[in-house]
């Protein structure tokens, strides 16, 4: 029988209102009579949470030597600093499970994953973590290997953590979206399989994330979150169905809602025909999103590769910047793999501890970086035009 629920007046406030509440879900886990250990952990978790709300400090520390044999990632050690008061969450590790590309599951496999987690852990999951992985929250150290054994028997593997390649993730791409300019799911699967060693055996100064978006809408926000963002694009003209444009014109204010919102003003509408100066299109996708039946990405499709974004920890937030303006994305993806390996080779050798690749580029300079990885500078790599029009050369450089 599940233990009596802890008194939690402060976090009970989060049960109020029409929105879903994580407190409600943790309480359900704490009352799950089929999972006695999990319910005890969830009950103690409520207690720690209540205590943190009361004292406005966290009671978790992370890291340490914890994981499964042979792997340097996939388990994030979490320890509670009040183990005597909350013994069932003294260890409450997080397990990252490598998700399938595009997050597609059968209902059967989801049930089996939940059964594994009910058997070994707290029963609390996070579907999905910001990394993209399936996240199992709350595993005791002794339960890590049995959980891993059951996961691998089901065909799942751990995801990445620490100073390594993190679990590559992608949008649903061609599986569900008409704008996908390349097969994001196939590339994600291929990179995951190719870079198993880099994923499970940390050898870098810090984390390295790949995120694949099928089009510039960038539904997985790779430009803000991935060290290497691979974003679908096209290099020919936007496809236009003029009849469908005319239909939209009868429903939308084309001038206000589409034409005037083009960031480079490369579109015009004369009342009968939409014209686009494709040489000035920056692929913002606004017109295509506004008139999906009339406009579509061009037919010569591939991706732009960008490098260097990160959410802030040491320095400020960085967005990725262009490193390869256009590349056809086709198996076996050798160009992408060789580029990634060249970058790792340089960064692993010269990067400082906890320095992301974007910070490394800022430190050594883009010119030096490009020279070292063997890429020619291109105008598309310029983030902002220089504000000072005067360029001074040394006498001998003129």
């Amino acid at each position: 029988m599940a233990a009596k629920l802890r008194e939690t007046p402060l976090i009970d406030e989060l049960l109020k209102g029409p929105w879903p509440s994580f407190v409600k879900e943790i309480k359900k886990c704490a009352q799950n009579e089929k999972n006695e250990r999990g319910s005890a952990r969830s009950n103690d978790l409520l207690g720690v949470l209540e205590r943190s709300y009361k004292e406005t400090i966290g009671h978790w520390k992370h890291g340490g030597i914890v994981g499964v044999m042979g792997y340097g990632g996939g388990v994030i050690g979490r320890y509670n600093d009040l183990p005597e008061e909350f013994p069932n969450v003294a260890h409450f590790h997080t397990i990252r499970v490598n998700q399938p590309s595009g997050w597609f599951y059968t209902s059967d496999i989801l049930r089996k994953l939940c059964d594994i987690w009910d058997k070994h852990g707290s029963g609390i999951t996070n579907m999905h973590g910001s990394t993209g992985d399936i996240v199992f929250l709350g595993c005791a150290t002794d339960d890590l290997e049995p959980t891993f054994a059951d996961l691998t028997a089901l065909g799942f593997d751990l995801g990445g953590s620490g100073s390594a390649v993190r679990t590559p993730s992608c949008c649903c791409g061609m599986a569900r979206c008409e704008w996908a300019c390349y097969d994001t799911m196939a590339l994600t699967d291929d990179l995951t399989r190719t870079f198993q060693d880099e994923l499970h055996r940390p050898a870098f100064p810090y984390k390295f994330k790949f995120k694949m978006s099928g089009c510039p809408n960038d539904c997985v926000a790779s430009i803000a979150r991935a060290d290497m963002s691979i974003i679908g694009t096209w290099r020919d003209d936007i496809q236009i169905d003029q009849k469908a444009v005319a239909d939209y014109a009868s429903k939308l204010n084309l001038e206000n809602d589409v034409i005037s919102r083009c960031p480079t003003k490369c579109m015009s509408w004369d009342g009968k025909k939409l014209s686009i100066d494709n040489s000035n299109c920056v692929k913002c996708m606004h017109c295509i999103n506004a008139m999906p039946k009339a406009l579509a990405p061009g037919k010569d499709r591939g991706a732009t590769i960008l490098l260097g974004s990160k959410a802030p920890i040491i320095g400020g937030a960085l967005l990725s910047s262009v490193i390869v303006p256009f590349l056809k994305i086709e198996p076996p993806y050798e160009d992408i793999k060789e580029l990634a390996e060249a970058i790792w080779d340089l960064w692993a050798e010269h990067g400082k501890n906890r320095e992301r690749v974007g910070e490394f580029i800022q430190r050594i300079g883009m010119g030096n970086f490009l020279e070292q990885i063997g890429l020619e500078p291109r105008p598309e790599m310029v983030i902002n035009p220089r504000s000072n029009p005067y360029i001074f050369y040394d006498q001998d450089q003129e």
């Binding site: 890291g63 792997y71 620490g162 940390p202």
Partner: protein
Amino acid sequence: MGDEVTVSTVAEAMYEMVKQYHGKKNLKAMDLTKAMIEKFGGDNCDKQLCKQAIRELIDSGRCTYSYVGGSYIVLPPT
């Protein structure tokens, strides 16, 4: 020409280094790699060989990974 440097030779040298620095300094995979290339010479030992040596150390359980604000290779807890 000197003796061939094997994966096991490098793994052993890496293990000694991890042991020597235990409790004093955390070593990353690249710290070990650079030290081994310096010790055995670039002609005899490269990054690939060091990668295999680290795999041998970890898979045998003689060393393990730890996370302390970064991933390090350390001796397993006793």
